[in-house]
Symmetry: C2
Subunit: 383 residues, 2 copies
């Protein structure tokens, strides 16, 4: 187990919108907190802002040491001075999603109106959608004095947010880069998420979601959820290349019931290290939001109409070995964008690293991003 | 929850080998029980016996109503009078695997030498291998007065047993039909099994494997294990075709945290119905045996040498949408058999049903089996 700070001990940079937020489910969230980080400087024209949207278990600590884990930011390979998303040129913003557990309003944040610092939302936090997340980000952007984002970029669930940004606020997005994503979750994607949720529900320490009162959290259930999800982030080839059937040092096949294969201890580590930095109820809420997401359904079952008349420039990226959000999903989006006569380019990157490739040091991804952004900057007459 | 009989209340047809069995792990199992069923009649020459090997959660009830669940036998579509594996022509034998929970020696059977009917093996049952399972079946076959099997047939883990039969007792197998299987488990296969095991370990009712003493079984953990495994048995296309993103009647997106999508309630049903008929410790032991299986490693890392000089006729079958045991694994076996100059045919069946296809009413599979068996029967001069 890694030694990490208590999640609740950290003060995240944030802004509070006392007017709250009307959610898709019909509930009006009485008070909206958005935790965020920025990198680089907003130019005088307020035209160089790039919003980076994070994935299911990501957060706003994109390009700096993570305050809980002490590890590098999750996209430092791509975001920073001189990097593909160059913080010397762009003003990079990233917000913890609504429903998250790193300072934005979510199951782990206090129910403000009860005036009791100990009372947290837990599973009473209203169900949220990707569009709700985007609405919360929109508030943050306005708060920062920005009317139009130069670019919105994100992978996986971050890509869903990019699509939702482009569909909901087309005039506020000059360029959109949805990476390794889809217009909706497939039955298989939902099924894998459901296994994770059932693992959390099955943990008696989940206690109907009110675990914060007892001090015991459903760590074992959440770890199992993380383990199964992690398999879907990697390709079969990547697992074979990294671990194959190698047996752990000091371990032997036909020994007692313990982790024998390296891939087993790797997965167990993925599970146990995750539970220190993530909240089980946030995991439930955010996986739900991903499963609900259906951009076509939001537009009369016509994906193209989500982008009707759009002036946004799109660059879609997929990875050849990603079986969670396969290239076919990106192609379906490209076809819809073509039907909407949108300006769209598409790159499928050859890699055996699976869905996880969007988080890794993948030179082809860096080249695609920096090239597309440079081209857009020219069109936008960015300084 | 389905109403089923208590697993321990059933008397399974079985044979006891008091001399026990020497296992690969070095332990001598003091007493070996093999529960089995037969269908059809052994001919005078004792030459028409077909051994059907079951998969991870299968059992010996191949072609008759299951005594616990009341459902049809798991392979009634293929085994029976006039079926592809014709019980009017062949004498079909099926045994519960060593380590299983339907009457053969396994974690749920009594530790005989302690003379206490209540004391079960639990996790003290020694770790077993696919080869151990086959050795136990070999005892049964000898007990039935059979020297040579006309055919050994099985899918998934059943296919592993077929391969092991052909490699270990080549003279006892005239024809071998390994279906939807592989010479070893991949890192991804191990990873999915490990998630299931961790879900069982995480259930406090597992109680270190000694749950039979308390009357509480790790049903929730075992259900989660079944759910994740079940996803791997189906293709993404099959899940989309069967469920897509359909919402359950009476349910709505953005409602409370419950199963909203049909695929979720389907999976939950797969999990909850499974725990009534299966033992968690058996699940641990058998998944381990599958993960350990490595036919090349048993033969100096040379898969071809596992089949050196074999006279067995092989027919391998794979399914185009099976991603758990993909066609590439069958092709690797075919190449090894070719290097061993074996008599081998190979069929890849086009289907979107995934790994599960070997259990379903798949006409192409029935045709492949009956055709191959008929050809072999001619060569074997079967009456």
């Amino acid at each position: 187990m890694e030694q990490v700070l208590s999640p609740l001990a950290i003060a995240h940079q944030h802004v509070v919108f006392e007017e709250g937020l009307a959610l898709d489910c019909g509930v009006h969230l009485p008070r909206l907190t958005v935790a965020y980080r920025t990198y680089g400087r907003l130019d005088a024209a307020r035209a160089n802002a790039v919003l980076v949207c994070h994935a299911l278990t990501g957060d706003q600590y994109v390009a700096e040491t993570h305050p809980l884990t002490g590890k590098p930011g999750w996209w430092e390979v791509l975001v920073g001075p001189g990097r593909a998303i160059d913080t010397e040129r762009y003003f990079v913003i990233s917000a913890n999603v609504l429903g998250g557990c790193m300072g934005s309003s979510g199951p782990r944040s206090p129910r403000g109106e009860e005036g009791d610092g100990q009372a947290l939302w837990g599973t009473d936090f209203p169900p949220i959608t990707i569009r709700d997340m985007v609405r919360a980000q929109r508030r943050l952007i306005a708060h920062l004095g920005i009317e139009r984002l130069f670019a919105v970029i994100g992978g996986s669930m971050g890509g869903m947010q990019v699509l939702e940004w482009a569909a909901t606020y087309p005039d506020a997005v000059f360029a959109a880069i949805p990476i390794a994503t889809a217009a909706h979750h497939s039955a298989q994607n939902i099924a894998f998420h459901e296994v994770g949720r059932q693992a959390i529900f099955a943990d008696p320490d989940w206690q109907g979601g009110r675990y914060w009162q007892s001090g015991r959290t459903p760590a074992r259930g959440l770890a199992v959820a993380r383990m199964v999800a992690h398999i879907t982030y990697l390709s079969e080839q990547a697992l074979t290349r990294k671990f194959g059937r190698r047996v752990r040092a000091g371990s032997s096949v036909l020994g007692p019931y313990s982790d024998i294969f390296e891939v087993e201890s790797y997965l167990q580590h993925q599970g146990s290290s995750f539970v220190h930095r993530f909240d089980a109820n946030s995991y439930l809420a955010i996986t739900r939001a991903m499963d609900y997401f259906d951009l076509a359904a939001e537009h009369n079952d016509d994906l193209a109409s989500a982008f009707a008349g759009t002036k946004t420039r799109f660059c879609l990226v997929s990875f050849s070995s990603d079986w969670l959000f396969p290239t076919s999903e990106s192609r379906a989006l490209v076809r819809a964008l073509n039907r909407a006569a949108a300006n769209v380019s598409f790159v499928e990157i050859e890699t055996d690293k699976g869905h996880d490739a969007f988080l890794l040091d993948e030179p082809d991804l860096a080249r695609a991003l920096s090239g597309f952004l440079a081209g857009c900057a020219e069109h936008a007459r960015l300084a």
